[in-house]
């Protein structure tokens, strides 16, 4: 078997993810903890914040997330790689260096990776459709190389904006892999497997009913869920597992589901560095909560880089709910839903949804049928609104049901959401130069 190239831990799978799993991984002695904190749309609030203030635009959880992690990482010699730089990696790196000083950690080298923001080159992007409205921003997905270069130059922390999630992991492995595309494809595959943190170790996972299979995790196990680590071998294969003693579940099923998660064609998964082929992947259980992964193949570099553009459609989606409880709640809710649709008759069917939370608002026609009366329900209205005044009308009509609708309308709540759409595009690699900007504590 090939040598161990590096041990990677997945300390966060989205911006709001738990803080403690990363600290557990660093204590367990991984070579690097990766913090994936930048979903497609997480960039939008970051871009708005940067527009308000030039030193803002990185993940506002930066200090809370890194305060417990930096001292452990320093003590254990564990690198940190994260996209929590969001729309402003340089400001994030400066803040991390300052945090290092505040924590008494002198000499911390923090590298910011710059170059993903291609909003000044939006005309060179081949969009899948016309944006049709002003772009809030345009960011290319960077690959692993600038991050790996920063690590090779001694970075303790690498902070980025938009980078392929799997590249955050592959960057740590790059210089320790056997030469050639196959090993790098393997590391990218490992990164893809790990990038959602607890979703690989039993989170968001319902074991199928049937004898002989482990039961779902308990409340205590979900509450203390260990996040995954991977021993990446120099040939790009890996052993997936949990930190010692951490609760969770890693088996061929949890790994298979996560490998396929948010992938289109599993035999051609395009990442900035390589198009990888997952169709030959094998997962073998080699111990309790230990799975060996092998068989990721490369199909060569992709012709272009993917770009995510953000389109700010005018107006809002107004999302309101009002509850009904007690005997006959369901019948009163049905009547209220019909009355609300009548009151909001100016909205075309395609621009409004009126349904019952608790009876089928999530899966709609695909919901399980109701069996027997339920003690309470919520009537839900979501409507596309061209401006704030229209949104206020929707909210007011829901509230008016407390006085002028079926008895007992209560517990009203509402949320006004901006209408942001993500638009995919493609740009030539050479249009996206990158740069490393250093900060030090």
């Amino acid at each position: 078997m090939a040598d161990v190239a590096c041990v990677l831990g997945a300390g966060a799978g989205f911006a709001g993810d738990r803080i403690d799993p990363a600290v557990v991984l660093a204590r367990a002695g991984v070579d690097a903890v990766v913090l994936e904190c930048l979903a497609e749309r997480t960039l939008v609030p970051a871009l708005r914040a940067r527009r308000e203030h030039p030193q803002a635009g990185y993940d506002p959880r930066l200090v809370r997330r890194l305060t417990p992690l930096l001292p452990v990482a320093r003590e254990k010699g564990c690198r940190i790689v994260s996209n929590l730089g969001a729309a402003n990696p340089v400001a994030a790196a400066e803040r991390i260096a300052r945090l290092g000083r505040e924590l008494g950690l002198a000499g911390l080298k923090v590298a910011a990776i710059v170059g993903d923001d291609v909003s000044d080159r939006a005309l060179q992007v081949r969009w899948v459709r016309e944006p049709g409205a002003p772009l809030l921003g345009a960011h290319a997905y960077l690959g692993c190389h600038p991050l790996a270069d920063a690590l090779a130059q001694g970075a303790d922390v690498v902070v980025t904006g938009r980078v392929a999630d799997s590249a955050l992991f592959a960057a740590v492995a790059r210089d320790r892999l056997a030469p050639g595309q196959t090993a790098l494809a393997g590391a990218i595959g490992v990164g893809h497997l790990l990038e959602c943190g607890g979703q690989l170790t039993g989170g968001n996972y319902e074991p199928m009913a049937g004898a002989g299979l482990p039961p779902p995790l308990s409340a205590e196990q979900y509450a203390g869920l260990g996040y995954p680590l991977a021993r990446v071998m120099s040939d790009g294969s890996a052993e997936i597992g949990l930190p010692p003693g951490a609760p969770g579940m890693v088996d061929a099923l949890t790994c298979s589901l996560q490998l396929l998660y948010e992938v289109h064609d599993p035999s051609s998964y395009a990442t900035p560095d390589l198009v990888v082929d997952f169709s030959g992947v094998r997962f073998e259980t080699v111990g309790e909560n230990r799975v060996r992964m092998s068989g990721v193949r490369s199909k060569g570099p992709p012709p272009t880089l993917k770009v995510a553009g953000f389109v700010d459609r005018p107006g809002f989606i107004m999302d309101c709910e009002i509850a009904l409880a007690g005997a006959g709640a369901h019948e009163r809710a049905e009547v209220m839903a019909r009355a609300l649709r009548l009151r909001l008759g100016d909205w075309a069917d395609r621009d409004i949804a009126v349904d019952l939370v608790g009876a089928g608002s999530v899966l709609r026609a695909g919901s399980q049928p109701m069996r027997g009366p339920v003690p309470e329900l919520r009537v839900h209205v979501s409507a596309r609104c061209s401006d704030g005044e229209q949104a206020q009308i929707v909210e007011d009509e829901v509230y008016a049901m407390t006085l002028s609708g079926p008895a007992g309308g209560c517990s009203v709540r509402s949320e006004k959401r901006p209408r942001i759409e993500v638009l995919d595009g493609f740009i030539a690699h050479e249009q996206v130069p990158t740069q490393i900007v250093w900060s030090q504590s």
């Binding site: 497609e40 749309r41 979703q199 319902e206 099923l253 989606i317």
Partner: protein, 118 residues
């Protein structure tokens, strides 16, 4: 039998795309799912909830089926008229709750009165 008795699943999304993955518990279950969960059979059911075509990828080495609905979430997560955000995390139950006839040869129809779409 319920699809969720013989397979585990997970839903994901990227932009307008909804993706649904199923991993069968053994080879017999995989063969059965391949036979009954055809895009032609699923698309009319799915189109009662989300628009657009249903594509299927087979990954026999993992005993997995991958369903991709490229236009199911028009405008992406923030354009949804569902309550709150990310309803599609539950969309895998559109498949898990389907029922297969005892002979393993076909999906039960909604008119059989079982599960969703009835």
């Amino acid at each position: 039998m319920r699809v969720g008795d013989i397979a585990a699943g997970r839903a994901g999304d990227k932009g307008d795309m909804l993706d649904l993955s199923l991993v069968a518990r053994d080879q017999a279950a995989y063969d059965m799912l391949c036979k009954v969960l055809t895009p032609e059979r699923l698309q009319p059911l799915m189109n009662r909830v989300v628009p657009g075509p249903v594509l299927r990828y087979e990954i026999p080495g993992l005993r997995a089926l991958k369903f991709v609905l490229p236009r199911a979430l028009p405008g992406g997560v923030y354009a949804s008229l569902h309550p709150g955000l990310h309803w599609q995390k539950a969309a895998i139950w559109l498949l898990l709750d389907l029922s297969i006839a005892d002979d393993g040869q076909r999906l039960l129809a909604p008119s059989d009165g079982l599960g969703p779409f009835t």
